[in-house]
Point group: C2
Chain length 550, copies 2
Amino acid sequence: MTVFFERHRPMLEAATAALYARGFWTPFPEVPSGKIYGETAKADGDATYAALLAKPFDLPGHPESQRLGAEISPWGPELGIRYPTAEPATLIAAARTAAPALAAASVEARVGVCLEILQRLNGLSFVMANAVMHTTGQAFPMAFQAGGPHAQDRGLEAVAMAHAEMTRFAATARWEKPQGKAAPIVMEKHWTIVPRGLSLVIACNTFPTWNSYPGLFASLATGNPVIVKPHPSAILPLALTVRVAREVLVEAGLPADAVLLAVDEAGAEITKTLATDPAVKLIDYTGSSVFGNWLRGHAAQAQLFTEETGVNTVTIAATDDFAGMCDNLAFSLSLYSGQMCTSPQTIFVPENGIETEGGHLSFDAVAEGLASAIDRLLADPARAAGVCGAVANPATLARVEAAQALGRVIRASAPLAQGRSATPLLVVPEGQGAKAAEDECFGPVAFIVPVADADAGITRAAALAETKGAITAALYDTDSARIGRAVQAFARAGVNLSVNLTGNIFVNQSAAFSDFHVTGANPAGNASLTDTDFVAPRFRRVMWRMPVAA
Amino acid sequence: MTVFFERHRPMLEAATAALYARGFWTPFPEVPSGKIYGETAKADGDATYAALLAKPFDLPGHPESQRLGAEISPWGPELGIRYPTAEPATLIAAARTAAPALAAASVEARVGVCLEILQRLNGLSFVMANAVMHTTGQAFPMAFQAGGPHAQDRGLEAVAMAHAEMTRFAATARWEKPQGKAAPIVMEKHWTIVPRGLSLVIACNTFPTWNSYPGLFASLATGNPVIVKPHPSAILPLALTVRVAREVLVEAGLPADAVLLAVDEAGAEITKTLATDPAVKLIDYTGSSVFGNWLRGHAAQAQLFTEETGVNTVTIAATDDFAGMCDNLAFSLSLYSGQMCTSPQTIFVPENGIETEGGHLSFDAVAEGLASAIDRLLADPARAAGVCGAVANPATLARVEAAQALGRVIRASAPLAQGRSATPLLVVPEGQGAKAAEDECFGPVAFIVPVADADAGITRAAALAETKGAITAALYDTDSARIGRAVQAFARAGVNLSVNLTGNIFVNQSAAFSDFHVTGANPAGNASLTDTDFVAPRFRRVMWRMPVAA
């Protein structure tokens, strides 16, 4: 059954070529435009979403012992959707039952299924945008992009990488060893792809699809049944995903239970029980280092792929476009209220100020420039809501509140008109606050930290990446020698660096097929989306060989 | 400095092509022939080896606080060589000091160094053969092959795989994102290969070079300084290797301390101290699962690549060449006295016997056939010594002695004329012995275990691989349907299967560039020589990106 594979072969081939070339490429348009997705796509998606609310979610054939679900949109309304769920042992048993058929399917069959799932998810992007918006608090345009096409890109990237890796070596070979004047020894050899076991994907609240698709699709393509464990506050995007996956699996003659949904409730999570089951051999996890450490300590039977806590920095050494820099950073700091794993947080500025195209600016002038740029960006309430979105977790608001006490407030945080919200707080840390600026403070909080000079800023930023973890680092500078030193320092610290971003490209953005997301080389995560090491451990090769006549 | 890379580029390209095609290929001739290696190569190698004995080993510039070394040849004489060594902290510090320059070297510089080391080691194959022979107990021809060219093949395989992986994705890219009618966003992106940290290679007594070269060369090629920790009984082969490596490093303008030797003494091993050092991020280990488990529990800071304990099986279902089968197995059981990680141990035979080309044979007739074939093979004392070699560890002799009590002895073990030796013991386990046959009994001991029928044998053999680990499995059968079932069963158990081997090819043999050695899919090891997963985790990619004018 490789109809799906043949159907999507051109997409797979283009994706694979893009992986190697690492230029811009995507098959899934990021613009929520009727011209691309159909003139009624937005209305249809809204209606489909509305029809899901306040009802039991239909997941045909899924193991079910009870219904759970208590999602509340950060924009206000309760979703009221009740999802089927079952005991961890039941889910594990169902996945184990599905495993042999999934393992026995050809590489092309499994990859074809993954590609078809992604294509159908793309068709659901407007529904998904609503689902992501109302579980994460992202504004609609971002929820569409990040929850839809960009997540699909990351899924496709993982499928292409898995396919490339599974087909990297010959699947059969004739091994012919010369024996001098005697006849050669000849053997035929055959290799089978053997999956590792069950795969558990532990998703997060803020990017339920973007952060889970890579693991989900990498595991499924390589033949491991996947149990998707959504965050209790962001179930719907993954319930939709699992439903599509199960439909496609069945159409391909494979067991629906090769993809399962493990719904639980806040305070009664089943994650630990699932993660420590001996049958679970792969765990993809996005979340805090606290639980990451727990998994490392308790789920040693599984290979762990993580994205965890980090402190992303900006070092402002100099600029020849002060306004452009401030506008760019204002957007990066405001976008989804700092709730991206790529959002900058701690900004190092020389205490004696910086050189700009308009002359010298003091430390305070730089700080004020950033504050003003944020004010400008968020002056229009509708635009502000569109950029900042809403805050996923009420604890984040409390964190913003507390952060005001960490030093001199350059820009106060304030709620917006819509949703649970908070604009960026800018603080120059003082006293105990200096230490706080060196830990992750998740949400719309940025620290502007004075340093002796630009090199000191680079050194401290790199050290933070190395010791606390970081997914992004940004640098503004006009001195090419110093930029060169910074490139080396951040490389040693294992963090991706963006230099002199202005205009419509932001440090927060990580593009599939080009940017490897998370390096795996610092504490912010051990896995990189999507490099070889993200797919290769998910399967093994087993051979049989037999002599044949020379 | 890429002179070495350019010099060996054709070999690298051929090796890489061989990796993918998986047919027979080697650049290092396995025949210890004067026609290939030079008419005086054997005599020169013997003389060079003799000149090393009873002297301090010269390792210029190596950290040294004392001299250690107490090797005794399993063939008799003490080697009397004293090696420089230093405290673990000193070795770690030296490796850390070497790390930045090694990391900063280009991929081509490091890969060129590795290729040159291998080429020079090939030129030392006759010296190495002596060194391996007198530390492992292997007979000279095997010590030449396994310790020299075959180990070099495995090293080259790892270098080629590491090179392929480091150059798999574009190192720079122009990322150009269309913006409708506006100018595109254009970024230049650059990726740097960042090594993981320090690498510790823990070698074994029996195959000091073959089992350590993959890890050593994979780590060095990817920029990680390597501390080579030899078994206290098999230091010389790795001391020679480290000396060559350091010479080549220096010639390439790189720090000699990028490869270090960590000599210790039995009973005062420094392995645990080295393995748990926070700077050590990669550990390659060959040895017992007992210490493997210790490493898993205590060296969690490092990525672990292991080859451990296992129970290799033979299932005899039927044959159309009984004598050929028995001769083949006799050699496999006798070769290096069962001290290969690939040696078969537990042989399942239907209790009612098997069908052969000469008609039905009872269980006892099959067992006697194996015993007779061993007797024939070892009848000539010189040939017997050449096949069996000597026993590396005195504890192995005690294990053979004890194994006689595990059941009905079909063939008694006996010493040979030369060295510490023991010919294969064949036992039909009885009573408590049945359980012993399902655990590794390292050395020249084989169990012939009656099973209800051939399918039961396949089931039990596969179950043993899955639960106890196995590196090889062999099957003799004439029923193609049953062979098909066995292929599936052993694949599920994660063990490579050899079917109907007769003549001059043996289940013990694992050829670089074709056979992946160890699957990583059962408890006999988590790493496979050399697949992608063996090299990909040894480095990370870190990017810097910057906008450029469209």
